[in-house]
Symmetry: C2
Subunit: 218 residues, 2 copies
DNA sequence: AAGTCTTTGTGAATTTTTTTAAAATAGGGG
DNA sequence: CCCCTATTTTAAAAAAATTCACAAAGACTT
C-alpha cells in the first residue's frame, strides 16, 4: 500500500516492463528510451512514459532511462527482491506441468509445496516440489505462511478446496479452473482460462480487422 | 466482420457468458436475469446488459433472458457451432499438459496436430494428438488449414518458429512464451504469461485494498 | 560555452469502458 | 383486462485509459 494507487491497467503492465528490463540488463545495455521499449514490448511509448511517471521522475530528458536503476526500482515494486513461495493445489495434468515449469528462472517466485489426492503422486517430489496429501494442506499453508496458491484441481472440487484455503493466510489464488470462485474479500482471485483464451482469440480473428493490433490478455 | 464492432472489453467477456450459459442449460434452467448472471460470473449486471445489447434486444423486460436462445446466439457468435482445429507447437513441459487437456470437453475446439523436435516425442500420439517433426510443420499447417496455433516452444526458438508459421495461413497465435513476438499484421497474438500472472497477482495483493474486487486477467 | 538534438514528463484531448438512472415493456396475478 | 412488478433497454454521466503534442530539460557536439 504505497505510491498512491497506480491504475490497474498500469499495474498489469509492470511485469512486462520488468521482464524486458532484465533482458536489457543481461544484454549489457545501460540506457533505454521509451521508444525502444515501445518497439520491444509493443506498448505505446506515451503509455510507457505515463506509466513510469506514476512512480515519479524516473528518467532523464534527452537521455532516457537508466536500465539498472529502473530495474532495481521495479524489482522492489514487484517484490522480486525477495523470494515468494507459492503452493500448487492439484497435481494433475496441468498442475504437473506447472511444477516442472521453472518460474524461478525469470522471477523470484517458486512453488514450495504441492497438494494432491492421488496416492501415486502423494509423497513424491515433482520438479523439486514435494507433493503432500490434501488433508495436510491447511496445516502446511499455515506453517509455510503461503500467501499465494495456484489452483489446478478438477472443477468439481475447486470451490470446496477454495473454502479450505480461505481458512489459512492465503491472500491470492491463481485460478486455472473454469469455476468462478467465491471467496472472502481478503482473497483476490485471478482467473486463467485456457478455453476462454482460445475462444477470445478466435473471436478477434473473425470479427476484428488486423491493424487494430493491440491486445494483451492473460 | 459483422455486428458493427463490439468493444474489446465486451469481446473478452463473451466466453465467460458462454460458459455459464452452458452450465445453466445443462442444469435445466430456461430463463436467467442479468442479476443472476452477475452473481455467478462476478461481472456487474449493468455491464452484462450493456454487453448483450450490443447484439440487439436479446432479452425480455420483466422476464430476463431465455437461456436456450442466448446460448444458441453466443454459440454462433463464438464459432462454437463448428469444430475448430488448432495446432500446438512445442510438446515440452507445458505443451504436453495442453495436449492432454480436454479443450473439447467444454468447447468446440480441439488440438489436431502437434509439432516438436525431440525424437522421443515425434511420431508418437499424446492425448490423442499426433506429434509431427518440426520440419513438417509448415506443410501440415497448410494441409490442415489451421488458423490458430498454441506456441509452447522454448523462448529461444519462439521467434524463428513464428516466422515459419507466418508463411502459412495461420491467423492467430496463443503465445505461452515470454517473448513478444513480431508478426505480420495478418497474425494476431495473445500472450499468456504465467510468471507475469503471478507477479501481477502479488502486486495487487500488496498494493490494492480488498473491496476493489474486480479483476480478470488472462 | 553555445547550440543543437533528444527524450522525458505532462496538460489536454480523445477514446474506451463502466455505471447511473429512468423510461419502456413484457409477464403474471387477480 | 388491467395493474403491478420485474427486468430490460438505452441515453447520459462518470470514470478509466490511451494518445497527442509540446514545453522543458538534460545530453552531446563542436
Amino acid at each position: 500500500m504505497a505510491e498512491t494507487k497506480i491504475p490497474r491497467a498500469t499495474a498489469k503492465r509492470l511485469p512486462i516492463y520488468y521482464r524486458y528490463l532484465n533482458i536489457l540488463h543481461d544484454g549489457g545495455k545501460n540506457r533505454v528510451s521509451s521508444n525502444e521499449l515501445s518497439d520491444a514490448i509493443q506498448v505505446d511509448s506515451a503509455t510507457i512514459r505515463r506509466d513510469f511517471s506514476y512512480f515519479g521522475a524516473l528518467g532523464k530528458r534527452g537521455y532516457g532511462y537508466d536500465v539498472q536503476s529502473l530495474l532495481d526500482f521495479f524489482k522492489k515494486i514487484l517484490n522480486q527482491d525477495q523470494l515468494t513461495n507459492v503452493a500448487l493445489i492439484g497435481a494433475g495434468n496441468l498442475g504437473h506441468a506447472l511444477l516442472n515449469f521453472n518460474f524461478h528462472m525469470d522471477s523470484n517466485i517458486r512453488i514450495s509445496a504441492a497438494f494432491d489426492t492421488n496416492a501415486d503422486n502423494v509423497n513424491t517430489v515433482q520438479g523439486g516440489v514435494p507433493i503432500y496429501p490434501m488433508d495436510q494442506m491447511v496445516q502446511q499453508l499455515n506453517e509455510q505462511q503461503i500467501e499465494v496458491v495456484i489452483l489446478t484441481t478438477p472443477a468439481k472440487v475447486a470451490q470446496k478446496v477454495t473454502d479450505e484455503v480461505a481458512e489459512t493466510g492465503v491472500k491470492g489464488i491463481l485460478n486455472f479452473t473454469p469455476i468462478r470462485l467465491s471467496t472472502p474479500k481478503k482473497i483476490r482471485v485471478h482467473n486463467v482460462d485456457l478455453t476462454n483464451e482460445l475462444q477470445t482469440l478466435t473471436y478477434f480473428i473473425d470479427h476484428y480487422d488486423q491493424k487494430d493490433e493491440k491486445d494483451d490478455f492473460f
